[in-house]
Point group: C2
Chain length 145, copies 2
């Protein structure tokens, strides 16, 4: 699992959506793109993917925009990344069959590595990120005074 700009953009956007999860005022792409400094046309693609993945819902027309589809507590970082990479539609993920023995062994290890990484990503939800960010914000303020 890599931290691509794609992943980061998606998480930033979702985080901002999580901030106003209570009221269901939708947020516009333009707004998010401007706030998070993301190319808006690109963000549009990502949000479309997240919508198809059921993480986000959209409202069309004037005053439209995007909302989080589920509560921030129920969306893990793994959910987000899987949604993004699942969209790329990795055709023919060979699953490590029919390799020379040594390669197969190496592949097995990598499955373990992936598992370990996913375990961490599974443990964090959008809400965790939000909380952590807000706590940090408070801390920074204290130092400032």
């Amino acid at each position: 699992m890599e931290l691509s700009s794609k992943s980061e953009y998606a998480l930033l956007a979702l985080l901002q959506l999580a901030d106003r999860y209570q009221d269901d005022e939708p947020l516009q792409i333009r707004q998010i793109a401007a706030d998070q400094d993301i190319p808006d046309r690109y963000l549009e693609q990502l949000l479309a993917t997240l919508r198809r993945g059921g993480l986000v819902k959209s409202q069309r027309g004037a005053k439209g925009g995007y909302l989080l589809a589920r509560s921030p507590w129920t969306i893990s970082l793994l959910d987000v990344l899987r949604c993004l990479e699942g969209a790329d539609a990795n055709i023919a993920d060979d699953g490590g069959q029919d390799r020379p023995l040594a390669s197969a062994i190496i592949y097995e290890i990598w499955v373990e590595v992936d598992q370990a990484a996913n375990d961490v990503l599974q443990r964090y939800t959008l809400q965790d990120l939000k909380d952590r960010r807000d706590a940090r914000k408070q801390l920074d303020l204290m130092y400032y005074i």
Copy 2:
């Protein structure tokens, strides 16, 4: 940490070198490339990197080749990958400084993810790989009979 062909090639080569770690007959690039089905010119680069990283030592001239620099028990998979990616010399690996807060938090999580992956890679040595491969080889033979 990705499983690139680069990583896989390097591990396959090291594994073969580990096989004849006892005797110090050096192994030629050509030989390894042929056995493991790796483009030889590319393997050359990888071995050069591994040499600079101190994982492998070389003997120049006729009858020359490569040998493992240390015992297979002392070389972890993490050592190998670090050596390879360290060579790419990621100029200005910013370490996550000076980002907007939300980005910084995301970056922190990724450090944790990386850590989890590295922990796994740390635990496996070349010898472990070798043992596992050989055990599997025996098993396959039994099924064959």
